[in-house]
């Protein structure tokens, strides 16, 4: 059997991704996580001196704290198996990527293991975030200087 015939057969036999169901589960999971985030935000706005704009920071930190507990007790991977991108896209997924790597590499010591591997998965997000933000901000600053656009 040649490669092409095999590849056709492989595509027939391998189960199709249940796209509709996966999208629904991602929507539900991500939606719930964001609704919880909204609740946390209100908490900071009512009980502390935060505004709608500034409450984002403590909210993100709190969500990552929750992600730490769920990751540590082995629940986050279960949520992820159900929710797919619904648990990966929110900042809790970013937290999970860093926290799981930190837990995993504890056996190689705190410096080489935890410190050295914490950004193993999440590092690329930071790299691309920073670089794209730099490019975008640079272009915009230059455009403003030449008076093409305003701030």
């Amino acid at each position: 059997m040649d490669r092409q015939a095999y590849s056709q057969m492989e595509q027939q036999v391998t189960p199709k991704v249940p796209l509709g169901l996966n999208l629904m589960k991602a929507f539900l999971t991500g939606g719930i996580i964001c609704a919880i985030g909204e609740g946390v935000m209100y908490f900071y706005m009512y009980f502390f001196d935060f505004t709608e704009r500034t409450a984002g920071n403590p909210t993100v930190a709190t969500m990552i704290f929750i992600a730490m507990l769920l990751t540590g007790f082995g629940k986050y991977k279960r949520i992820a198996q159900f929710g797919g991108a619904g648990s990966a896209v929110p900042v809790t997924g970013f937290g999970n990527a860093m926290i799981s790597a930190a837990i995993e590499h504890r056996t190689e010591g705190y410096v080489l293991g935890v410190g050295g591997n914490m950004f193993k998965l999440a590092g690329s997000v930071i790299v691309f975030g920073v670089f794209s933000a730099f490019v975008v901000a640079l272009i915009k600053t230059i455009l403003v200087k030449f008076g093409v656009v305003g701030w």
Binding site: Y6, M9, V13, N22, T71, G72, K77, A80, E104, T107
Partner: protein, 340 residues
């Protein structure tokens, strides 16, 4: 020489005893767990790291196999085994503990049969009276190396497979009546059909399994019906289906219970393990428990063990390479199976 890559063992080396040590998930979810010799209730097996636990499983299986053969470590001549961790350190450390002359073999998940072939050659050459041969894997140690940290959340597809935590070791001796003997080995070629999805290993490995299957049968002059069991290593549900399709398209009769797959059966086809089990310990654990026991009980007289291995590394996968695969076959006979 029978055919290229095929070894016929005139002396019929015997598998005198077998032993399997496994982890907690296997204890809880594997229908074969009753036939395993030692089961741990923690992933760490009382050690500090996953890799140490991995080593412990191999050491345990070696000790248990010797015990069951009624031998001690001083009766053994060689240790031939392998695993999937970088540079196979768990096997290396276990070899240091046993103090035996040691050959580390890397055939990925096909190591159980490549180790048997190597051990049989040592015995055939008269170089050994007892070789410990086998393979092992440890879920946590392997997953974190090949995929993601254990607690990292990502959605596995239905064709994913679950790496087992187990070590299986066989004690191979010169021929002895009353024990399964090794008649023929077929060393696998490396087959690459260009598949690249590391979460669909069964599909990548099936062509390698079929290649070895065809070569083994042609060299043996046998038909599938001549065997009581043809058991692949860890093709899983998807790979098994593909392997059978390839076989029947080539005119072989594929029927019922004769065709088994250790990976597909390992967790009782529980959907929470997706397409089934994988890992070097998967085929070793099933061959060196269920299949061996059935041979000893006389249910199987002639068995074809075909462990499959995906020879990728995290690096080759990230560089966009395809997954080269292999499959090594071992034919065991017992009693009247010899005359078939």
């Amino acid at each position: 020489m029978v055919a290229r890559g095929v070894i016929r063992f005139g002396s019929r080396p015997a598998i005198r005893a077998v032993a399997v040590a496994a982890g907690p998930t296997e204890n809880k979810h594997s229908p074969f767990s009753l036939q395993f010799d030692r089961l741990y209730d923690s992933d760490l097996c009382g050690q500090k790291t996953n890799e140490q636990a991995h080593r412990k499983l191999i050491e345990d299986a070696c000790g248990l196999a010797l015990n069951k053969a009624g031998k001690t470590i001083s009766d053994a001549d060689y240790l031939v085994c392998g695993d999937l961790v970088n540079e196979m350190t768990p096997s290396n450390f276990a070899a240091a503990t046993t103090g035996l002359p040691y050959v580390g073999l890397f055939s990925a998940c096909a190591t159980s049969t490549s180790a048997l072939a190597y051990a049989a050659l040592l015995s055939e050459a008269g170089a050994s009276t007892l070789v410990l041969a086998g393979a092992a894997s440890h879920h946590n140690a392997i997953e974190r190396q090949f995929r993601y940290p254990i607690e990292y959340g990502f959605q596995k597809p239905q064709n994913a497979q679950w790496t087992v935590t187990a070590a299986g070791i066989a004690a191979v001796t010169p021929h002895e009546e009353g024990y399964p003997s090794i008649r023929q080995a077929t060393i696998g070629r490396v087959v690459d059909y260009g598949l690249t999805d590391p979460l669909n290993m069964g599909a990548a490995m099936a062509p390698a399994a079929f290649d070895t299957f065809r070569r083994h049968l042609e060299a043996a002059g046998a038909e599938p019906e001549d065997y009581d069991v043809i058991i692949t290593g860890d093709l899983g549900a998807i790979g098994t289906q593909l392997f059978r399709n390839m076989a029947s398209e080539s005119g072989y009769t594929v029927d019922g219970d004769r065709w088994r797959d250790a990976g597909k059966e390992f967790y009782g086809e529980d959907p929470s393990f997706f397409a089934g089990a994988s890992g070097a310990g998967c085929s070793a654990a099933v061959y060196f428990s269920d299949v061996y026991n059935r041979m000893m009980e006389g249910e199987y007289r002639r068995a074809l063990l075909m462990a499959t291995g995906a020879l990728l590394s995290p690096l080759s996968f990230q560089q966009g390479e395809s997954i080269p695969c292999t499959c090594h076959a071992i034919e065991l006979v017992m009693g009247e199976g010899e005359s078939r």
